[in-house]
Symmetry: C2
Subunit: 225 residues, 2 copies
DNA sequence: ATTGGCTTCAAACGTATGTTTAAAACAGAC
DNA sequence: GTCTGTTTTAAACATACGTTTGAAGCCAAT
């Protein structure tokens, strides 16, 4: 909580406000007044509002991507030459997120919401920044997913990965769910864990759904291409 | 395409720009210049920017919710006293969306993206408007889902429905996917159908995933609460 | 031809935004 | 204590926004 440093106070306030209201809807004046610093401080320390947004993401994402790469290293090593399973891959990602050291109680859920917003609000500069800075672990995750689902055609896998990302990003960015999570007085860490405990099986089952179900029910007006 | 009426030209332009850039990021000046109408026309015909947003949604959602209610009526009638299955319920929704008469080639995918944005960008007024105006068919869909998944606990069902909504809304609101869809020269209608053909089985499988998978793999640091 | 009700138009209004400025305050080194 | 570079501050800047205004244009009914 109590950092007296201006930069950190700005980052804390910005992180929270961005998560609550989105990027465009959060003004520098809201941020600086919440952080109790002068308006010009943002431009002095970060250069611009966009650079501040990048800094908010970098503060969490840089240590996280390091943790994730290490988790993938351990997983691949423990598997020998055969590729990790879908379940193992998903859990490696989940555990890396949960194990991240939290700045405060709301830590993870706030950042999950930010990640969801980053995906959804098509802010060109953010997308470019994230791809450039953290594209590597993401590509690696994709490669692991591919190796873990050899039974899927490329196009099936592409769409199902989209669905997975969607369920995850959306759940994390749902403000109602976030409110529920924050309301939960048993501590957020276990709440995020509980969501993950429910989400991962859902995703794994969806990824491994049988093609047979692709056919709509009898009498359907949706024709199979 | 070619409507000469000012109101429709504004709605068409707004619909497209909102889908491309989001609500806050689209200014009235962008809309009116794309629609080739005077800036003041929006406030004259709709009253405010928020009211324009509502009108964009109402133009699609009002006929859609009628179609959907009818589809649910038919489904429940054809099922007698036993409740419709999960697959039937999901397909009834999907087909209602696909069968909607399109204003132009991009029709459905644009509106799917708007629905995704509505859920994601936490615009208070929009959420309130949608709940108030179209809450009934949504509640009915929820009731059908509950009856179709009696094996799930209430909290499990709650979260899995969140995941379903997420996968759907996100996929539909993903601008990259949208671009792919629009690139597909075989016509958007079949593309949306193809996505639905892949999405519905994914969702159904996820909804019916077994609880046994709830336990993380051996050696996991995520403890079961 | 003139009226009266919509609709369009160019212009302006007030406000909020991100950013810049230049002076003041501060801190540590000498 | 004085100097030097960094940080903070209040004020202003330029721009973009949603909205309002009042005159002009239009078109059918009188």
């Amino acid at each position: 909580m109590a950092q007296s440093d201006t930069v950190d106070r700005i980052l804390d306030a910005a992180e929270e406000l961005f998560a609550e209201r989105g990027f465009s809807e959060t003004s520098l004046r809201m941020i600086t007044s919440k952080a109790k610093v002068n308006l010009a401080a943002v431009n002095y320390h970060f250069g611009s509002k966009n650079a501040l947004i990048h800094a908010v993401f970098a503060r969490f994402l840089t240590p996280f991507s390091a943790t994730l790469e290490q988790a993938f290293d351990e997983l691949e090593e423990s598997c020998g030459d055969q590729p990790p399973t879908l379940n193992q891959t998903l859990w490696a990602l989940t555990e890396s997120a949960v194990r991240m050291p939290q700045r405060n109680e709301k830590g993870i859920s706030i950042f999950m919401r930010l990640l969801g917003l980053a995906y959804t609000q098509s802010q060109g500069h953010l997308r470019k920044f994230l791809e450039q800075e953290y594209g590597d672990p993401f590509s690696r995750f994709m490669r692991l997913l591919k190796a873990a689902t050899p039974q899927l055609s490329a196009v099936d896998r592409y769409w199902r990965i989209q669905f997975m990302l969607g369920a995850t990003a959306f759940t994390m960015s749902s403000s109602d769910a976030l409110r529920d999570i924050l309301q939960n007085k048993t501590g957020v860490e276990t709440s995020v864990q509980e969501i993950a405990l429910r989400l991962v099986p859902f995703l794994a089952a969806g990824m491994q759904a049988e093609d047979a179900m692709l056919v709509p029910p009898k009498g359907s007006r949706v024709s199979v291409a």
